[in-house]
Amino acid sequence: MKRLILLLTFAGHQVYAQDDLLSELEKKSDDTEYAFATFKGTRVINGFSVETKGKGELEFIFAHRFGTLNEGSYTLWGLDDSFVRLGLEYGLTDRLGIGLGRTSIDNTIDSYLRYKLFRQSKGTSSFPFTITVAGTINYKTPSTKGEALTSEDRIAYVGQLNLARKFSSKFSAQLTPMIVHRNTVEQSYENNDDAALAFAARYKVTKSVSVSGEYNYRLSPHTDSPYFDAIGFGVDIETGGHVFQLVFTNTRGMFDRWVVAETSGDFFDGDIHFGFNITRVFQIGKRK
């Protein structure tokens, strides 16, 4: 009898040891897991995503918008016109990015700083969103004709907060409150300050292809404003170091000041610009 008890104790102990070593290990470890790749690129369509570049990464962005599709065959559905933005973004740290760009619209230079405040995480310490703050300054460069604008007049500012959540490995959504301030506006129906709320989402169709959409809701448009809320749809195709984003949008703007305050196309009337953002990433600094 005693022997039996002994055997049972022994057996019981063995089973315990077999089953629980792995779960014992799981209990001990810090399980905080951070979300990554909430969006493919630093832009969803026209606006920023929460993504910043990794430390030492340099991203070159070549963005292009053609004329509108409803211009018809004479301009080859808008392909004769083009608006271009060339931009660079560099990751000073994994969370802090600095950018510089030049757009053909109003011959504007833009520069910005972005900082990832919080990262979405689950496990031991969990947080539901990734939040990135961005501050941009735009400068309309003077032409040789010499308009009566002071350099102060040429400046506009944009402040924004991107709040995003990666709901699953396929679906991510983002909400962006932002404010645009232009030191000088040219028309009586334009505000110096405009606020907007941008909604964006992406859905991954395959591991390398995703579709995305963006809607820019203006909170305080001027009562006589002839402008529209910017809408955009896109397809992202990732091929290693490149991301190709093919977009359809009713704005020519490739930066927030224009998107929020000067979107002149009526999406539902066919004022849709085809365009693309092509990004190429180079690792130029060391990660450690």
């Binding site: 040891a17 070593l21 990794g54 990751g91 699953s168 591991k207 990660r287």
Partner: protein, 178 residues
């Protein structure tokens, strides 16, 4: 007599519990030797337990903690290859055989057990070395992992050529569990 055996065995069990070792330091690196670009990554967040009394060993590797030379590589690794949102950890559970606790210096041993990567479990034999030293246990191993065995697919669009087999190097330093 029986009582004696009982006491001895009980002692053994108590002792057995005290002979559990936990990782103090760990380093797992893998190396993919490919035509266009060599890819290496290191993870120092793996945790393990080694029970000397039963020779059992387990370890768990958080996939998102593999650090690469390039940020983009890390993103691709997690998103396209390992699908770490779905399979956040790789684990091993098995037994180490062929060592003698009382022997000093490095001795070769084999860990036999189940390796789970990318949600796929395989029975494997991992050859390596074990060293008992000043109350610590050092375990090192080098082995190959064939991506196809664990259903890790390489997307066609990627410009990097990834080797079909990667070399994994593992260094664990265990100390007695308090």
């Amino acid at each position: 007599m029986r009582l004696g055996v009982c006491i001895i065995l009980t002692c053994f069990f108590v002792n057995g519990n005290a002979q559990k070792f936990t990782t103090e330091k760990s380093q797992i690196t893998f190396f993919s030797d490919a035509a266009i670009e060599d890819i290496a990554a290191t993870n120092i967040k793996a945790a393990g337990l080694f029970d000397v009394s039963t020779s059992e060993i387990v370890f768990s590797v958080p996939i998102k903690d593999f650090e690469f030379e390039k940020s983009l590589m890390k993103e691709h690794f997690n998103e396209k290859y390992m699908e770490s949102d779905k399979y956040p950890k790789s684990t091993f559970k098995g037994k180490v055989a062929g060592y003698d606790v009382s022997k000093p210096g490095k001795q070769t041993a084999t860990a036999k057990g189940t390796l789970t990567i990318h949600g796929i479990s395989k029975e494997v034999d991992i050859p390596g070395t074990v060293q008992f030293e000043n109350g610590k246990v050092l375990i090192d191993a080098v082995f190959k992992v064939k991506l196809a065995d664990y259903k890790i697919k390489i997307p066609q669009l990627l410009w990097q050529n990834i080797a079909e087999e990667v070399e994994v190097k593992l260094n664990f330093e265990f100390k007695a569990q308090s």
